[in-house]
Symmetry: C4
Subunit: 265 residues, 4 copies
């Protein structure tokens, strides 16, 4: 019982010297294991050092598996940890390696463990970087409703325009089906523009131009949403937690915009 508590402080905590060392070591082991998987995927290196790569990767997998078991063992509420966001990421970091015994090729998905770095950064609390990432996170969270509305609108537009292009190009020139045409519409409206599918008929080019100009104008919308949030976050003015609008100065008990009760700091 005593060891479990001590382990918990080292593995999950960051205030002790041992806890900090553990996190730093984890940081480097994760980076090393990700680099290894990347090198494995390069054909030239794989044929030369395949044996070594294979052994090293299993070494890392066993190491991360032990760490995962220790995290479950030491956590006061094991199930809470297992089903938490970071607990699932930890599981996803080792699962693909075991899965590769059944399904070849899936072990490359262990690269997902790179996401564990985000927690390590969070834990190391790199001063101002940490607070800035919180400001950014809050701004993104605050704009998540508007971004969702925007993405649904883009989806409806893209499905409609993709289908129209499918009919206009008559199923030729790469517009071989409606899902394919929707894929093209997404490539175009996001201004990525691979050029693997391209309109050939005059009418198709005319519609494509319309889509591009629409995309040009609406790319401004998410930018506007997030900019407004960041500006607000930076001004340090209080905002209503219900409707997100700025609260007026002075002591108030209810938001003047939506009528919900507010408590000002």
């Amino acid at each position: 019982m005593y060891w479990r508590k001590k382990l918990y402080i080292i593995i999950f905590g960051t205030n002790t010297k041992a806890g900090k060392l553990f996190d730093l070591a984890l940081l480097w082991v994760i980076i090393a294991s990700v680099l290894l998987v990347m090198m494995e995927s390069v054909a030239g290196l794989e044929t030369d050092h395949g044996r070594l790569f294979h052994d090293l990767e299993w070494g890392f997998t066993i190491l991360f598996s032990i760490e995962y078991l220790l995290r479950i063992y030491s956590h006061p509420k094991p199930l809470t940890y297992v089903f938490s966001f970071w607990g699932l990421i930890d599981l996803l970091s080792i699962l693909p390696a075991y899965l590769s015994l059944v399904l070849a090729g899936t072990h490359f998905l262990t690269v997902i463990r790179i996401l564990r770095l985000a927690r390590v950064f969070r834990i190391l609390k790199l001063g101002r970087y940490f607070s800035e990432s919180q400001t950014l996170g809050k701004a993104l969270y605050a704009s998540s409703y508007k971004i969702t509305v925007f993405l649904v609108a883009v989806l409806l537009v893209v499905i409609t325009l993709g289908s129209v292009m499918y009919v206009v190009e008559g199923g030729n020139n790469g517009f071989s089906s409606i899902p394919q045409s929707i894929y093209w519409a997404i490539i175009t409206i996001t201004t990525v523009g691979y050029g693997d599918i391209v309109p050939v008929t005059a009418l198709g080019k005319f519609f494509a131009s319309l889509i591009m100009i629409i995309g040009y104008a609406i790319i401004a919308v998410p930018t506007g949403i997030i900019t407004a949030e960041i500006t607000k976050a930076q001004m340090g003015k209080p905002a209503c937690p219900h409707c997100g609008k700025e609260l007026p100065d002075g002591a108030i008990a209810f938001c003047p915009w939506c009528g919900e009760p507010v408590k000002k700091a």
Copy 2:
């Protein structure tokens, strides 16, 4: 007469249980019918299940036709509904299917019924999503004048630059006509960049570079316009309905910027 009123409340209303159920059912039927049309357009699936797809699609078309007729029948002012924005969308959702009896291939345009989802979302009133979409809508509406001015300016620039490139590249390398060169200029200035038409001469590359850098700078304009509107909408400050400029605090009867009378809430 009694049934007509009851039908109206179910079909157009959303406050009764039956009205909500109807909208939810409609939501899923629309999604199912759109997925069906998408699957029909995939060559492999069509050859295997063509018969089934054909029957199902006519089933959906008849269903939506009945719904359309009921909407006209139950509405207190049928013509107002028929020529309203949503009435036209409803008509466009069934028309292509009947048109396909005359003109093959057009039935794929029934995908347009995906736009009906926008109304269903509006009707279901998904709490905060609804109010956020209204904020976005207002900001876009408020900036529509500026966006129009911007798009006209882009059009003039694109026509001029496209023609210059047609002369510079001498009608070769894909710049086969002025409309084609304008199409290229739109692809370039919106930063889509398919790469299907590309300048080959040194002078052409120089002009193309200029257009890209211009596009780089002016993509900022619609963003600036919409950001300013969203920021204003979020600040909750009153704005003049005539010139769009922010009104000063205090009780005023006329906008200090354009002199038009204003009523503050």
Copy 3:
């Protein structure tokens, strides 16, 4: 002398009925002549209606030439008009047609007359569109210094990175010279990405990734500049004409930021 004055009021003025009619007629003649030049450039139409196109184009050219001469004749200070911005555009609208007698193909450049539409729009004073375009114009003018600094910085970055890529790719894979590599760097940093020139070596791809991520971050700079200006313009707050910073409320005689004298409206 009397006729000269009357002509001036009709051609340059917009307050009389005749002046408005003249501008409206000009609007449609310009659009017709531009459409004609576009149709001329399409190979299929040219072979069929070449003779007709040729005659019509000379008709338009003579019409615009007469208008140009009348403008010079009726203007109180002819030279001021000839060397003004719009005077030069007017000249450029007819010059290419006469030039085509010596240099074949240049008559397509008469499309430049599309820019004359900008003046016509300005003259027709389309209510709110006009005032919005002025707001936009002011915001762009106010940010012109910052945009220039930004473009010079982009130019230095693009020249440096283009040269580095030329050395890295060893003059192969389309990076055949430094100007060509700079052209590639512009395509990449503006996120146009045609794909006609693409790095092939591993080191080249690494550098290209860096350039893309740099471009991703700095595309935000012009947007930020213009957004800040538009926001300021819309707030209707007074700004110092010397340093562009916002002036505090109250009666002041000197800008508190740069010390230059200011006069508040």
Copy 4:
């Protein structure tokens, strides 16, 4: 000793007439030498004027070498200059030429001397351009923490998505290794979209669409960050040097957001 001081005033200073002349001469010599290197890289010009280019380039190299030595000689603290930012740029401007005696092709890297122009601009103090570039610089510096957090997040996302695409596309269609797939993910998320690597499987296209839409939404983040900074810089309101948040009006000794001591100007 007297000459050293005089040299210092001419080379590093800008207030004397000789100092200004020196900087102006330097400006043109740098531009000429960069144009020379560019012309050298063009195959056609090189074969015709190779001898001349070679001689001229060594002339410029010797000139810049003498200038560099004089800068070291005249500076009161030579080592401080050598290891300063501009001192290193000055060294990098001549080093590649000497390196080319050992490693062929590297002399093209002397183009780096174009960066020296940035200092010359700084020195010439072009009035408002100078102050605007300082405003921009401050805004970028103030947002450097947030931009770093954002770039690290993008890096983690790009590594994860690139690996997933490698597994999805099964190492075919150009997704030949994880680093290559990451390169593709960067091309896609930055909306550059060359089209040299493109998903072919249906699942791959679905994931690619997701990445594009994610890229579409998050391109808004750096824009929002920088816009907020520029807006703040332009408003001329004081900000806490520790947390970057806006300070309230009135005489205060501590930042009300982070508690650090502040001194208001």
